[in-house]
């Protein structure tokens, strides 16, 4: 167990060092959710006055739920980029040779994904509070909200890891980003579900991101939510992406 944690810790330390010494790798992904929040909460606030829009805490809080999911998911996805880069340039193969328990590698990347998401979420939350976001939920609601974000972060990382370990090339980065981006945008991003029209209204109920965003909005409003049902959905997603990442790791091992 000690050796396992030592591998994960060593790898995450190396990745963190790379990120800190290359701000160009770290800053743009961190700034993206802030830009989205600023643009949507600032530019679209009039949507809060549209007939049928009845979210009590206001439009800034409504959009925050989307940005929370985005920051968490992409914190994981961007760490998947590091896996792809390491394998493309040969470092991943050396890691496989040097590590007895190879799932420790995924844990190492996961620690960095968590740290990235933590930094981004802290920045986004502080900005949201500064521009007037209403957090009407209690301490337990807020804990539940960030707990969901943490699970989404790990799910995002495991999905991206599955892709990265299968393709072992940075050229696969669109395959990591685009599905997550579509998942997020095929949910009620700008307006509640009942105001969505057309095909997105038909697709949204089957999208796990819809349930996560709605639960986060309920937690922000402190109105009670279907938390356990949403937790079940994300746990199932987590299990599926875990299996995807592990099979990806086996393929990378088989490729040598």
């Amino acid at each position: 167990m000690r050796r396992y944690l030592s591998v994960a810790g060593g790898l995450s330390w190396r990745l963190l060092h790379t990120l800190v010494t290359n701000p160009l790798l770290f800053l743009p992904p961190m700034l993206m959710p802030i830009f989205f929040f600023t643009a949507f909460a600032g530019g679209l606030s009039a949507i809060g006055n549209a007939p049928g829009f009845d979210y009590a805490p206001g439009y800034t809080s409504f959009i925050f739920a989307f940005v929370l999911c985005q920051s968490a998911a992409f914190g994981g996805v961007f760490s998947g980029f590091s896996i792809a880069a390491d394998f493309q340039f040969g470092f991943g193969r050396r890691l496989l040779l040097a590590t007895p328990h190879r799932t420790a590698l995924i844990l190492g990347y996961g620690i960095v994904a968590m740290i990235r998401a933590f930094v981004t979420l802290t920045a986004v939350t502080l900005i949201a509070l500064a521009v007037g976001m209403n957090l009407e939920g209690g301490g337990l609601d807020i804990f539940g909200m960030y707990g969901l974000a943490a699970i989404i972060n790990v799910t995002g990382l495991l999905f991206a890891a599955g892709i990265a370990l299968r393709f072992r090339s940075l050229q696969a980065t669109p395959l990591m980003q685009v599905p997550v981006f579509l998942f997020l945008f095929l949910a009620p991003v700008y307006v509640p579900r009942q105001l969505l029209g057309g095909w997105v209204h038909a697709v949204a109920p089957f999208n796990p991101a819809t349930h996560v965003m709605e639960t986060v909005r309920d937690l922000i409003a402190g109105t009670g939510s279907e938390y356990l049902a949403t937790l079940g959905i994300v746990a199932a997603l987590l299990a599926a992406t875990f299996a995807f990442a592990i099979t990806g790791l086996r393929r990378a091992e088989a490729a040598g």
Partner: protein
């Protein structure tokens, strides 16, 4: 004295093809190189369409706001697809140029009597081709999705002209950046910065409906707002000379600035080698 002057060796006259011969050659290279990169063209064309499809449904309720200029959000949002494509033009043009720098193409070109203006104009030919292709695709898809063009058939031609001007304007920014960097990844890192310009504009709502004061203020000073509004005027209002003049003016202004900085960058690069 006279005999010495007669005997002095005469330097051979350096033959230099005219700029009109050089531009088409470099343009052909740029166009061929662009069309041979479907992995770059397809996402740059399809991504704005995906966002159009999502936003036109997700933000449809905005049309019920008092003062919203149309009851079709597809028509309203269509203009933004052209601008998004422009951002991809920055990245595409800049990256191609950075690859030329990295691969030593510029160094080899400097051994030839190439005119700097031909080099810059030739590089933009690929951008122009993609811009034209995207304009035609966006107008066709928009019309199929239910958008309408208030300015009619004549408006379609002006829409295409403005879309190309915008693509060239953004492409010239890509040239200016690409001229100063030696790695394509450095051009990619500009992407979030460009997104700021896009988002802090009147892309999602008309400026008079933006409620947040600081946001409306920034959108008013952001040239992207005027380019979007120029395109949107043809789709929603019909013929609005003021909106069109501002749209073309901003696009051509950015093009002039981009070309100036690209030329300065080129001079600097030539001097270094």
């Amino acid at each position: 004295m006279e005999a010495a002057a007669v005997d002095a060796p005469i330097a051979p006259k350096r033959w230099r093809p005219s700029i009109w011969t050089q531009v088409p050659e470099l343009a052909r290279r740029s166009i061929m190189r662009t069309v041979r990169q479907p992995a770059a063209i397809i996402p740059a064309t399809v991504f704005p369409l995906i966002l159009l499809a999502i936003n036109s449904v997700g933000l449809k309720s905005a049309t019920s706001l008092p003062g919203f200029p149309t009851n079709s959000y597809v028509t309203f949002a269509l203009a933004f697809a052209f601008i998004q494509a422009g951002v991809f033009a920055v990245i595409g043009t800049g990256q191609n140029l950075a690859e030329d720098n990295q691969g030593g193409f510029f160094n080899r070109l400097q051994l030839t009597p190439v005119h700097p203006a031909a080099l810059v104009a030739g590089q933009l030919a690929g951008t122009l081709t993609v811009g034209l292709l995207q304009a035609v695709i966006y107008i066709s898809v928009g019309l199929l999705a239910g958008a309408h063009i208030e300015a009619g058939l004549g408006g379609v031609f002006v829409l295409v002209a403005l879309a190309i001007a915008i693509s060239l304007a953004f492409g010239s920014v890509g040239l200016a950046v690409g001229m100063r960097v030696d790695a394509p990844e450095k051009v990619q890192s500009m992407f979030p910065l460009l997104f700021v310009f896009l988002f802090l504009s009147s892309m999602s709502l008309p400026r008079n409906l933006i409620q947040t004061d600081w946001f409306r203020e920034i959108a008013t000073y952001n040239p992207v707002s005027y380019m979007v509004e120029g395109l949107r005027s043809l789709l929603i209002t019909g013929w609005d000379p003021e909106a069109l003049a501002l749209g073309f003016g901003c696009a051509l202004g950015i093009l002039a600035l981009g070309l100036t900085f690209a030329s300065l960058g080129l001079k600097e690069r030539m001097a270094r080698t």
